[in-house]
């Protein structure tokens, strides 16, 4: 499997993915033949858990995978699991998650809200009052579902509520839930809210069991969500195949971002063997036009999910550093300069640049000054993580 492809023959690759909208670049690269054009014969394997994707990538059963960016970093640092150095040469998506809450919690937050419902500081402060009122009444803490301990969802929820004064470990319960179970758990009252990627927020709204409170882009302007992951030794042994894979993904990302292609893209992603959901729901995600409440209210945002546009596909080590800083903030990892540099080294803009031949963005053209754009706290500086974290009163460090 690791031989370089001979001229004229295709190199077989096995790539794992989770059925989520942000697997789009991978699925389109394969379905539209972009990977084949690069000499790669990709077999896609749909998985049911991030643990499976991680383990199969680590064991070499997958050559590459659609993976949560924080899992790639955790794996490279050996956090909670075997240490396997991972390389991320392509970012599959920026943002794309949303926080969805039950109608009951929505009503409670709205009743306590003092400000704009789209302002995450205002909603987090309202949540603090809701939490305090529940404590006074002796009610069980609210339960928030997220997808994985090492996930952007976990960190986005924590960052948001902590900014309003809610301690995510003391005042509420955060639990891991597989995305396909989120909607059912919200409907049955096992959770009061969740943070998950597309299409699950829309599914909850369509069924009338949830309100989308925030797009995560309200919390962070640029959050590295999923990445294309390969093992570092594999990357070193197969530079041509990797470059081809990056190019195929980049072409797919451009194809997806062209609005004229969206109907076709949504239909391809909706196929049973891919996401297996209604193409219309996927279309809304790609367009960033989401129904946010069961009464039909729609919210539109150009920042909901970015696949390729505005430099989204190019891995930005600052975003990796921010994710590592969250692991430190919440007690998942100790802070060290070495770990920080390992985390940042997972994201490889150099591989992206050399494969695509695109010029690196010039410093003046970046969209948000610190590369992350969080709604609260000082701007992020990877050279001063310790000082940065000290500025947040709620932390486990």
């Amino acid at each position: 499997m690791t031989d370089q492809s001979k001229p004229g023959s295709l190199m077989p690759l096995r790539i794992g993915f989770i059925p989520l909208a942000d697997a789009a670049a991978l699925l389109i690269a394969v379905d539209k033949g972009f990977a084949r054009d690069e000499g790669l014969d990709v077999t896609l394997q749909r998985e049911v858990s991030w643990s499976n994707v991680r383990d199969k990538l680590n064991l070499g059963l997958f050559d590459a995978a659609h993976l949560l960016a924080p899992v790639a970093i955790a794996s490279s640092l050996g956090l909670g699991h075997v240490k396997v150095p991972i390389v991320a040469p392509f970012k599959l998506g920026l943002n794309g998650n949303a926080i969805t809450i039950s109608p009951v919690l929505h009503a409670a937050i709205m009743a306590e809200l003092d400000g704009d419902p789209l302002d995450p500081l205002a909603t987090a402060q309202a949540l603090l009052r809701v939490v305090a009122a529940r404590k006074r009444k002796g009610l069980e803490p609210l339960v928030f579902g997220m997808t994985f301990p090492f996930s952007t969802h976990n960190y986005q929820l924590r960052f948001w509520m902590a900014a309003g004064g809610v301690d995510p470990d003391e005042d509420v319960r955060l639990v891991v839930l597989p995305p396909p179970y989120m909607v059912e758990s919200l409907a049955s009252g096992h959770v009061d809210a969740f943070c998950v990627g597309a299409p699950w927020n829309s599914v909850a709204v369509d069924l009338g069991v949830g309100h989308i409170l925030h797009f995560v882009s309200d919390i962070l302007a640029r959050a590295a969500e999923k990445i294309l992951a390969v093992r570092q030794p594999w990357a070193e042994k197969n530079p041509q195949a990797l470059a081809g894979l990056i190019r195929a993904h980049d072409r797919a990302a451009e194809f997806i971002e062209a609005v004229d292609n969206r109907t076709e893209v949504a239909a391809i992603l909706g196929k049973a063997e891919h996401l297996g959901v209604d193409a219309e729901v996927i279309r809304r995600t790609l367009d960033g036009r989401l129904k946010v409440s069961p009464d039909g209210k729609v919210r539109e945002s150009s920042r909901y999910l970015l696949i390729g546009r505005e430099g989204a596909a190019r891995p930005d080590p600052v975003q990796a550093a921010w994710l590592y800083a969250q692991m430190v903030r919440w007690g998942q990892a100790p802070l060290s300069d070495h770990s920080l540099s390992v985390a940042m080294g997972v994201f490889r803009p150099d591989l992206y640049d050399s494969a695509t031949g695109k010029a690196a963005p010039s410093a003046g053209k970046v969209e948000v000054a610190d590369g992350v754009g969080a709604f609260a706290g000082p701007s992020f500086d990877p050279a001063a993580v310790s000082k940065h974290l000290d500025s947040f009163p709620i932390r486990r460090r």
Partner: protein
């Protein structure tokens, strides 16, 4: 096993037959404290209640990610759990992934003890897969028999053939077109329905 107390083992599997096969195997091998969890709601609460030394979960189960939460050091987790990963023994990990099962152990659990449990899991999971394969094949064969019989009837009626000749005709067509007899039979049924 006699010298040491039996470890408590939790099997997390939504497939009750496979879970039962595994449980039986574990009991036969002397592991007497086995609990099955088939309900994925409140999985963590259930696991904490059982307080197992070893957790076995099938890889088709999305709730595997829920178990990953137990690696986290937090107030909710009483005994930190680790996945069974021995960097020196990738063959055994690969075999368990191939068989479709994964094991988590409480920190400090002896490696030699988990090895025998894992090996047992692998063989039982593989046995179950084989059983299911055979069942599937038998079902398919029965299904094919029915289709072939119907097509034979159609040929006998339309072409006035004997039963044996109708079968010979289908078989020779299948050989010529490099297809299965069942596929030819299905085409005959489809065609006759279209032409009705």
């Amino acid at each position: 096993m006699a010298a040491e107390s039996s470890p408590k083992i939790a099997i997390v599997d939504e497939n009750p037959i496979r879970a039962a096969i595994l449980e039986e195997g574990l009991r036969e091998a002397g592991f007497t404290l086995v609990e099955r969890v088939g309900e994925m709601n409140n999985l963590l609460a259930r696991i904490y209640q059982i307080d197992p030394d070893v957790i076995l979960i099938d890889l088709e189960n999305p709730s595997r990610d829920v178990l990953e939460q137990m690696f986290q050091v937090s107030r909710a987790v009483r005994r930190p759990i680790a996945m069974f990963v021995d960097q020196s023994d990738t063959a055994s990990i690969q075999a368990s992934v191939d068989a479709g099962v994964s094991a988590y152990i409480v920190d400090g659990f002896r490696k030699e003890r988990i090895k025998s449990i894992i090996d047992l899991c692998i063989s039982r999971f593989n046995a179950f897969a084989k059983l299911q394969d055979e069942l599937e094949r038998t079902k398919n064969a029965l299904e094919e028999r029915k289709v072939i019989d119907r097509a034979k009837g159609i040929l006998m009626k339309l072409k006035g053939l004997s039963e044996d000749d109708a079968y010979v005709l289908m078989r020779s067509t299948a050989m010529r077109e490099k297809k299965k007899i069942a596929d030819i039979a299905q085409s005959i049924i489809t065609a006759s329905e279209l032409l009705k």
